[in-house]
Point group: D2
Chain length 230, copies 4
């Protein structure tokens, strides 16, 4: 008599994309858990979606372990955190580069490992990673972000090969373009109609991929605005 609904855990919950994902998951009758380093502003979203809220630095092993220890077995875990530092290579601060790797990639490893303990036991689950154009192309003056996002994609690929045959759906999304911020993004005007990615539109594709039948799973999906150069 399994009446519980599915549980979606969104890590890096402070972003606009995470908010849309939370709403779409809730609309799809899923329970939602929001995890973020800074949970100060998550209360309205939590109320709107009925989500639980969890303070968690994704790059901190103990905090990640505590997060998943406090949760039931998740059906879907989405890893969104990223950190970036840009600029001419010689001027990059070493500690910031290390942090970029830790947040963008090592945190993905920690969350995957903690989440999979639950999923492997139940023999099913989905683990989604949010990438960027920097996941597949290393841009000038953006080496640290390329390092972090390439590494996260390497993690996702390896996990997909290892875990798909164990009935766990691993997917990686290449978000190619700027995501429009809520409440009127000043950058949007110069790009014309729908010139930035709308978080709701991205979230629709995540949900569609989550609903895929396992006979036809996607590993990698790119998403960009119609006017984006690529």
């Amino acid at each position: 008599m399994q009446s519980r609904s599915e549980l979606a855990v969104i890590v890096g919950a402070g972003s606009g994309l995470s908010a849309s994902l939370a709403r779409k998951c809730a609309a799809a009758q899923m329970r939602v858990a929001l995890a973020a380093r800074n949970i100060g502003k998550l209360q309205p979203l939590a109320q709107e979606t009925g989500a639980s809220v969890h303070a968690c630095d994704a790059a901190d092993a103990a905090q990640v372990e505590a997060l998943f220890g406090a949760l039931e077995a998740p059906d879907l875990v989405i890893y969104n955190p990223s950190y970036r530092i840009r600029g001419p290579f010689l001027g990059l601060d070493r500690e910031e580069v290390r942090k970029t790797l830790m947040v963008s990639a090592y945190g993905g490893f920690l969350v995957a490992q903690a989440a999979l303990k639950h999923m492997m036991e139940r023999g099913r689950g989905a683990l989604f990673f949010t990438g960027a154009s920097a996941s597949v192309k290393g841009y000038a003056e953006s080496a640290p972000f390329a390092m972090g996002k390439f590494a996260l994609r390497g993690l996702a690929q390896s996990l997909a090969r290892e875990l798909a045959p164990k009935n766990i759906h691993v997917a990686h999304f290449v978000i190619d373009g700027g995501i429009e911020r809520a409440g009127g993004d000043p950058r949007a005007a110069s790009r014309g109609d729908d010139g930035m990615l709308k978080p709701d539109a991205i979230a629709d594709t995540y949900i569609a991929v989550y609903r895929q039948h396992r006979s036809a799973w996607s590993f990698e999906v790119d998403l960009r605005p119609w006017v984006e150069k690529f």
Copy 2:
């Protein structure tokens, strides 16, 4: 007074994937046109989906022109035809290699050009191409199929870059694995549950991509069974 429903044109309509696409499009309240070189067996599907049926060799320019001349402006055109010859490279028949290129790639060009005349006038549309693992990896003893499928992907990429800013959604699907045939596919048994791609599952993703908001369009989506090596 816009009462007409959307029109989906499925080229290469003889395959099981095309049948699923026709059914999913019809279920989504779209009108469907089926085009195939050999239309002898399409009648039951046409009746089930209310589709029109059109004889058309996609590699023949005149026939492709006639096909789209006979149709209203399509909203979605899906190019599925492919042809392949396999075997040790030295034994490949030249004429068969040429045919592989013509059907798998040149026909895609012809269909795209004819379909886009309509779409460019209306300022919208979607053009989807069905690829394979051979689209991104050239396998031994399968050079002709690699040539055809690589070429089709080159066409699709070029069209996406040229046409997305004109509000036409071009997408390419990398089908990685065997598609299960209707009526009990003897190959399926050895692969375990859901070990081959179910055409309905593939079609669900095509429809989801077709429904994407233009602020977050996918160009390339891979699809494979959970147990498929890649």
Copy 3:
């Protein structure tokens, strides 16, 4: 008492790259055969390099067969021909698109098959294909060239996987940028020093790859000017 020197066959011999390849091969003590559709201007190069000259349309099976029938077993065959038509997609001439595929890709198949008959008998050889940035990225308003060059790369990949274990080295070169023409290229000035690929510099890398020990063969090598965006 095997005193014969190696034989290099350069197909598409009318280009500046081919001229450099001929000179570098001759300088490396190889005999050279030059094949081109139009051999009218090849005489000076032939004299300089001691090369034989052969009229051959690489997209014509009979001519390709005749070419390799007239030659001894080649050690190295380089496929350089390409043809391109550019412009907005709707205005592309179908016949020109077909020709682009035939010259850029199908001719590569014909040459590979004819050359490999010799190589397979002797159990060694090298087969090099010249690609372009269009081999890996389909640009807007350049769909036909993308189709041809993607297809050639698919052919090369498939051949590499099939033939490397038979001791035949297949390689594909991604030439990313404009090749400087002999005698003062007017385009070069605006690009600054060494802003276009010098054919001699490209040829040096082809020769280096040809000289690779088979324990460490390259399949794909990109080449671009230091100032080229990519």
Copy 4:
């Protein structure tokens, strides 16, 4: 009065590949500096090649800074260190995963930054990174190595785009297969003649890429034994 010879710095100097690189550089009349975490066994190589020897943990910022502070401006810097941990994902030790990222990728950043200070001043130089098949494909049960090697490739791509126009040649080598160890590698026998990469053969290609004219620089070169599946 430019009598000094070029200086090559090889980081991660304990490997067989590094030994071959040192010998090939010395044979090309370059001065060589060998840097390794553990320099205990480097004396014979240093004597043979006239190299200086430097203890340096490449993942330690202070040690990397001290290394390049002690050296003259290098012409060529090669980053070879890597570290890996393998095994089923759930059993991976977190600290080892972190170390894999630090040695395989972060150390590459530290070395690049320190080396480039010199190179940017002189307005020339070359910076080469040694990758693996894991740089472009994430294998099952090898997530940490994929993370590290993907990240290193992202770093290299970003640097190539940023630094090539500043006359600094950045290249990334994808070593696809096992490198034969000196003194009779027991794994080699089962692979047949030349079935593992010979370090001297790899080094030949590094030197050839280093000698490339800047009008035709390679960024990425793959290398694999003729019998290697890929």
